[in-house]
């Protein structure tokens, strides 16, 4: 027995060589990445960058809380919410027809098993349009629209409308297709129109999920409408950008605080709404 078993268990990690190899390989990949990202954190501690930073941070306390400024912040916060809401409403109006065109289960020729050539091509085109709409980031849309319609809320609303139409259209189509197909199919087979089949077959069973996703997107839209302000699309972001450019720490800290509270509040509201809908 003692001849079969090793006298002592292996002292060394048996996978030692493999581990060292992968560690070295990861290091070899990571090193150029660190160089490319100009990752030199010690630059943060250099006196010429540390001093303005500390001065800016010192300005954070106390936050600016006089009535005039708070009124301005309240107005801009409302604009941020309004841009998100208006953008999402337009996105919804844009996404609904696209969804109806893109959903496979509402196809009459698809009932035979294969869709006819023309509807299939149309569906493909609508899906491609949705991909294009959402693969261009909203910030890029906003930059383009700021150049077309000028600085202000219009660019933000349009940017959110286009990107979110792409996202909503895609997810709506997925939700409708993943639902129970039977009622819709039965309606279509018995001579109902596509809209009738949608309203009486697909919509009732999926309404909760569709609404809940829309509410979630509204929450995302509020965050992104604040970000869009940084390229001049109005709202809290634009105000924050100009305060940062003037190194006004007190104003920045007030607005950051308001923004964090706004995000937390919409987070709560949307969680509550989605719980109620479920």
């Amino acid at each position: 027995m003692s001849a079969v078993l090793p006298r002592q268990p292996a002292r060394r990690d048996p996978a030692w060589a493999r581990r060292v190899f992968w560690l070295l390989a990861a290091g070899a990949v990571l090193w150029p990445m660190l160089v490319l990202a100009e990752f030199k954190p010690w630059l943060l501690l250099a006196p010429e960058s540390l001093e303005p930073t500390l001065r800016f941070l010192a300005g954070f306390v106390p936050p600016r809380l006089d009535g005039e400024f708070l009124a301005l912040v309240a107005r801009e916060t409302w604009r941020t919410v309004a841009i998100a809401t208006a953008g999402l409403t337009l996105a919804l109006l844009l996404a609904l027809p696209l969804t109806l065109l893109a959903v496979r289960s509402l196809s009459i020729s698809g009932l035979t098993g294969r869709m006819a050539a023309l509807p299939a091509a149309l569906r493909l085109a609508v899906r491609a349009l949705l991909v294009v709409l959402r693969s261009v980031p909203e910030l890029v849309w906003a930059l383009v629209f700021v150049r077309v319609v000028g600085l202000g809320a219009t660019a933000g609303v349009l940017a959110i409308a286009l990107t979110y139409a792409g996202m909503l259209g895609k997810v709506y189509a997925e939700i409708l297709e993943s639902g129970e197909a039977h009622p819709t199919e039965t309606l279509l087979r018995n001579g109902a129109g596509r809209l009738q089949a949608f309203f009486y077959g697909s919509l009732p069973q999926n309404a909760g999920e569709l609404t809940s996703y829309t509410v979630y997107r509204w929450e995302c839209a509020i965050r992104s409408s604040a970000v869009l302000g940084f390229v001049g699309a109005g709202g809290l972001g634009q105000q924050m950008d100009s305060s940062m450019k003037m190194f006004n720490g007190g104003e920045v800290s007030t607005m950051l605080l308001v923004f964090v509270l706004l995000v937390a509040a919409t987070d709560r509201l949307s969680a509550w709404l989605r719980r109620t809908l479920a």
Binding site: L30, P32, M33, L34, V35, L36, A37, E38, F39, K40, P41, L43, L44, S49, L50, P52, T53, F56, R79, V81, A82, I83, T85, A86, T89, S135, V136, P137, L139, V140, L143, V144, F145, R147, V148, V149, G150, G152, A153, T154, V157, L158, R223, S224, A226, V227, F230, V231, G234, G237, M240, D241, M244, F247, V252, L256, F259, V260, V263, A264
Partner: protein, 278 residues
């Protein structure tokens, strides 16, 4: 005082049509609230539809679209585009890795490791994680520009700051949800807390942690692509530059590079997930 007996309804209750707007109908109030919000949003924003839908701006957008569709592909431009794309990629990788480290370090105090753990730091750390998370990457980048100067370092740190908030919270959930058995077995034998973590808790949570990290990497490449718009390096900086000069052909190439990068990262992350699941 005579008791008032309810008189029977003329027809049975279930035959009565439901009232159109019932004070107790929650859905009605919600719909009314949403409608009011939407109307107020459109009413309070000074949207310039006239300017957007004018022939001039529509023509301008059509010209933009035509130019974007014919991207610039000359060698001199591609030689500038490639480093910017690599820089964006490096920002996303380094930012995500930093966030994994910081997220893990913050997740430990943010989680209640076992029944008897007082977890004194749980509340404050979670508050910090929420604050990190609720400020978007672009805002972090604009803030960090003051400390880190123009360039990819600010972008990398911005990605790391936001993502460590997100990952810290997700990691903490993972650690708390890991099965308690193995950790308990080690703990009753007097194994110190650090080793319990390394040998019992982390190995269980690891697949989930890696999957979250990959998911955030996919998000971060999208964010890294546009962070440059505020001056934080990478493709976004090129995009903002060419867009401000109305060089739409170059803008088209930058956009194409962004989409290719996002596709590459999605594919790599999908492959990594597949390899890990095997």
């Amino acid at each position: 005082m005579p008791r008032i007996t309810p008189r029977p309804a003329a027809n049975e209750v279930y035959r009565l049509p439901p009232p159109l707007f019932d004070a107790r109908c929650r859905a009605c109030w919600m719909v009314a609230g949403v409608l009011v919000l939407v109307v107020l949003s459109f009413w309070s924003l000074d949207l310039q539809w006239g300017r957007f839908l004018s022939l001039e701006s529509l023509g301008r957008m059509a010209r933009f679209a035509a130019e974007v569709a014919t991207p610039a592909l000359d060698a001199a431009f591609l030689r500038k585009l490639l480093p910017a794309a690599l820089e964006t990629m490096a920002m996303s990788v380094v930012g995500t890795l930093l966030a994994v480290v910081a997220g893990l370090l913050l997740a430990l105090p943010a989680s209640k490791l076992h029944e008897g753990d007082p977890a004194r730091w749980r509340g404050p750390t979670r508050l910090l994680l929420n604050a990190l998370r609720s400020v978007p990457e672009l805002m972090w980048a604009a803030l960090l520009l003051i400390a880190a100067g123009l360039g990819p370092l600010a972008g990398t740190l911005a990605l790391a700051a936001h993502t460590s908030g997100v990952l810290g919270r997700l990691f903490a959930e993972c650690i708390e949800n890991a099965a308690q058995g193995p950790a308990f077995a080690l703990r009753v034998r007097g194994v110190p807390e650090g080793r319990v973590l390394l040998y019992a808790t982390l190995p269980q949570a690891l697949p989930q942690l890696v999957s979250y990290a990959l998911y955030r990497w996919e998000n971060n490449i999208r964010a890294a692509a546009v962070l440059g718009v505020v001056g934080a390096g990478g493709l976004g900086q090129m995009l903002a530059f060419h867009l401000s000069l109305f060089q739409m052909a170059e803008t088209g190439s930058v956009l194409a590079a962004m989409i290719v990068l996002v596709g590459l990262v999605d594919a790599a992350s999908y492959a990594a997930r597949r390899a890990l699941a095997r």
